[in-house]
Amino acid sequence: MNSSRPGPVILIVATAVALFLLMPLIAVIPVSFTPARFLSMPSGTLSLRHYQALIDNPAWGQSILLSLRIGILSSAIATALATMFGLGIWMFQPRFSALLIGFVLLPLVVPPVVSAMTLYFP
């Protein structure tokens, strides 16, 4: 009873969308092998110079480590706070739960640059 398997039109559009979604992610790979200093497609020769730099320059290694540390710490704190809140809402169903949930979701819709500026506030 497959009353509405995708027809040809929607399949063509969806295939185009799927390619559109994957394209830039695939495009990044050849660019990383370019011998040039600027963002470009490698023409003729491939080079590992950018990967070499990643290893040689201690700044890259340090920043990757810093990213990892911040990522782990902030996700741990966020998960802990959100889990407690979620449990609280689920267990007690407080009177204004919709309002409370709306409040904690606010950062989702506040433009990141406004958040950044807000946090910049001394």
Binding site: S4, I10, V17, L21, L22, P30, V109, P111, V113
Partner: protein, 277 residues
Amino acid sequence: MIGKTITSRKILLLAPLLLFLGLAYVVPFLGVVRWSFTMPEVGLGQYRALMTDPLVQSVFIRTLRICLIVTAAVLVTAYAIAYVWVRGSSVQRMLAEFCILVPFWISVLTRAFGWLAMLSNRGLINTWLQSAGVISEPLALARNELGVIIGMTHFLIPFAVFPIASAMRSIDERVLLAARGMGASRTRIFWTVFVPLTYGGLIGAALIVFVFALGFFVTPAILGGGRSVMVAELVYLRIFQSPDWGLGAAISVVLVLFIGALLALMRRFIKPAHLIG
């Protein structure tokens, strides 16, 4: 006293996040609001500037234009892939899910650079077209509004797919069968039954996409190349480059109020559970 312990447990569970957001978000934002009225001097000067400054005006108009175009493009593309994700054969469903989730998990920065690698003058598309002899001069695909629209559409498709797919999944299969049994063609069923039954999901998706698009920063900054500045980038420029904190704060306040009003107006279409599908 059981009542007392329940209250204290409730506070213990709910308070940390509320307190954190209060201290890390609400209080500082109130500070930003204060800036907008006090910097450089006390008064409504920044808001008056905001209303009259032609640069600010043009950025607002461009932002609205880009957001509307992106929202329309996202809805159409997301609808097509969501349809295959929900109603395709098992192989089609798997492929669609892969194409939706992989970009979703990859950082906004990587995706913007990916598009730069595709669209820039020495990027994939121009290199191919030139080597194939189709064009002699590279097409201006990036560092303009077109690049921004492409990058933002790409970023926002998954966010629209989730609410749309959720609406599609909740359609009763028998309703579609009934329409078929009454002699309706597939095209007719799609436009007169299927699509109307997903209006809720479409409106929710449009809202999410539009609101996210309004605050976009990274993608326009990279793909716009400073030439098609959107409002978020303008705030950034006012605060971190030409110290004009008051105007930056005023724009932020207007932006947040606008988003708040939009969400309040459309709140019956927002289902937080549908955001992640």
